[in-house]
């Protein structure tokens, strides 16, 4: 028999108490892990942003367009490798519910997708997309959600750009890795432009924003300043920033909610600590006489601390592992249930490490007071305790 066996036997002394404590810990760790996953999912766009891409938008707001004529001027700025552009189209597919929402963009078919190597598209599909004016490329998750196949037509009711729109699916993109959003749809800006010239000519010749690829990521600040300086006296002043800062701007709109979630996730850790500490304190108090007996037999204070802390750590470790295990199916359910709300919803390794670290830390912290008290008790006092 080893000391560890004594610890495990002590764990099973009050099976229901241990089970409920482990369950409480598991749910708390699950809640912590799930909240952290939501937060990381929210920031996934920021995290997956490229450092060598800049975004130039209207200085007042993202919703104001920029003239197409800026493209060539931006392209001449030193440090700029290539320039492309996109336009937020929006529109309504089927109905105006969130369930049928997915991002739709009009893009420069020539080079926009080449600037995003994280979108993996078969060469022949990309070539077909470039040739057909009303074609589109759709993310894998959306294709699967609606069971679409290449050649299908997607009817969209325009809202920002009124009218009936139809797009033929000519390509499917997959993410390079699990952090890539696979819920978007891209179609040719030139198709939008062509229609706008017929329907609302005053809105033609405009784009939503420019995406600039720079040769050296270290030149981001200089290039940004040069781009904005170029249009400082024009009617549509620009604001250029890194793609990360641009994405961060969107996320910051919901920063209060995210901060609340983070705070709640840490409050949960505090609750776990109290739950476990309560159990360990109760257990240790009940066994003071036994600890005194063990000390009489020659066990040291270190052994007693090991027994109490070991019990706490095992409960914390089992609860932590179960909680993390619960997080995966829940995350998978959310990812499949809300693919457009959370295009990337993965339980990150950092979340697992953080949850497990906190679990073990809680195990240690919860045992400090009862372990020290049990270790310090005088044998003669401990033996007088009614067991």
């Amino acid at each position: 028999m080893r000391i560890l066996k004594l610890v495990s036997k002590n764990l099973l002394r009050h099976k229901l108490r241990t089970f409920l404590t482990v369950l409480g810990l598991a749910f708390a760790v699950f809640a912590f892990g799930f909240l952290r996953t939501i937060v990381t999912a929210w920031y996934s766009g920021v995290e997956s942003s490229s450092t060598s891409r800049l975004i130039t938008r209207h200085a007042v707001s993202f919703i104001y367009p920029l003239p197409l004529s800026y493209r060539d001027q931006i392209g001449k700025i030193p440090g700029v490798s290539s320039v492309s552009y996109a336009y937020w189209f929006q529109g309504v597919y089927k109905d105006n519910t969130f369930d049928n929402f997915f991002p739709r963009f009009a893009i420069d078919a020539e080079n926009f997708l080449e600037m995003y190597p994280e979108f993996v598209i078969p060469f022949d599909q990309l070539e077909t997309f470039k040739k057909e004016r009303n074609s589109c490329i759709v993310g894998k998750k959306i294709m699967e959600k609606y069971s679409w196949k290449i050649g299908d037509v997607i009817p969209i009711d325009g809202d920002i750009f009124p009218g009936k729109w139809e797009f033929v699916i000519r390509g499917i993109y997959r993410g390079k890795d699990r952090t890539t959003d696979e819920t978007q749809m891209f179609f040719q800006w030139s198709y939008l432009e062509e229609q706008l010239k017929q329907r609302t000519p005053y809105r033609s010749g405009q784009v939503g924003w420019y995406t600039i690829k720079i040769a050296n990521a270290n030149d981001a600040a200089t290039v940004s300043e040069n781009v904005d300086a170029l249009f400082v006296n024009s009617s549509a002043k620009t604001k250029t920033e890194t793609e990360k800062a641009f994405q961060q701007g969107f996320v910051s709109l919901s920063s209060a909610i995210l901060t609340s979630m983070e705070v709640i996730s840490y409050v949960i850790i505090g609750i776990i600590l109290l739950v476990l500490a309560n159990t360990i304190i109760m257990s240790a108090r009940e066994r003071i006489r036994e600890y005194a007996v063990l000390k009489t037999l020659g066990f040291t204070s270190g052994h007693i601390i090991g027994l109490v802390a070991g019990e706490s750590l095992i409960i914390a470790a089992i609860g932590g592992c179960l909680g993390i295990a619960f997080t995966f199916p829940m995350a998978a359910a959310v990812a499949s249930g809300f693919p457009t709300m959370f295009p990337v919803f993965n339980v990150e390794l950092s979340t697992i490490v953080l949850a497990m670290t906190f679990s073990l830390l809680v195990g240690v912290l919860a045992s400090i007071f009862p372990a020290v008290r049990a270790a310090r008790i005088k044998i003669v006092d401990g033996l007088r305790q009614i067991g």
Partner: protein, 226 residues
């Protein structure tokens, strides 16, 4: 006469309760020769259990020295004292104090966890100790599956499994019926006569004390003359 294996010299013990000082033992001197079976008797509060605890190294005197088998245990630090106890003292409690989650075998094995014996050697020691107390057939039983007398016999097996220098017993028959008490006393006698164990036993019971070679009386912290 054999050399004194327990030498208690001028030992005083004072307990502090809040600001009050309660003298429990006053200037006690007693020698116990190797192989002796000593019974300490006295009324409640006379200090007999305190003296036993001091000899067993689970409490410390305020003054005086306690030398057991050549080691002055009153000068040892806590960790050294714990190690010393594991090697030299077998303690038998009134209420057995077995761990309820462990079997008889595992309870007896407990003191051996602090040794470097191999698994096989530990098993041999435990089986031998349980054999001595006549409980070889109850190894896998938990304390709640044993009678009071059997529990105390397991406790005695736990006390002798490391082959300690002395065995100290605090009212070992105090919680037992007469038949079980007689069995325990017979076992203690056997440990002393057959295995030459030095035993210091505290008891209220004159019948139990009769089994000892020497009976010493304590009263209000003083050791009375033989």
């Amino acid at each position: 006469m054999a050399e004194a294996i327990v030498q208690v010299h001028n030992v005083t013990k004072i307990y502090k309760r809040d600001k009050m000082e309660i003298p429990v033992l006053q200037n006690i001197t007693i020698d116990v020769p190797e192989g002796e079976f000593l019974a300490l008797m006295g009324p409640s509060g006379s200090g007999k259990t305190t003296l036993l605890n001091l000899i067993a190294g689970i409490d410390r005197p305020n003054s005086g020295s306690i030398v057991i088998a050549g080691t002055d245990i009153s000068t040892l630090k806590d960790s050294a004292l714990a190690k010393w106890r594991s090697r030299h003292v077998g303690f038998v409690f009134q209420f057995y104090n077995l761990l309820p989650v462990l079997t008889a075998y595992e309870n007896v094995e407990l003191p051996l966890l602090l040794t470097h014996l191999s698994k096989k050697e530990k098993r041999e020691h435990v089986e031998m100790a349980l054999n001595v107390v006549g409980l070889s057939d109850r190894m896998k039983h938990y304390p709640k599956q044993l009678s009071g007398g059997q529990e105390q016999r397991v406790a005695i097996a736990r006390a002798i499994v490391t082959d300690p220098t002395i065995i100290v017993a605090d009212e070992p028959t105090g919680d037992l019926d007469k038949k079980s008490a007689d069995e325990i006393l017979l076992l203690m006698e056997r440990l002393n006569s057959e295995f030459k164990k030095t035993i210091v036993m505290v008891t209220h019971d004159p019948h139990a004390a009769e089994k000892a070679h020497v009976i010493r009386h304590l009263e209000k912290g003083d050791l009375l003359d033989k």
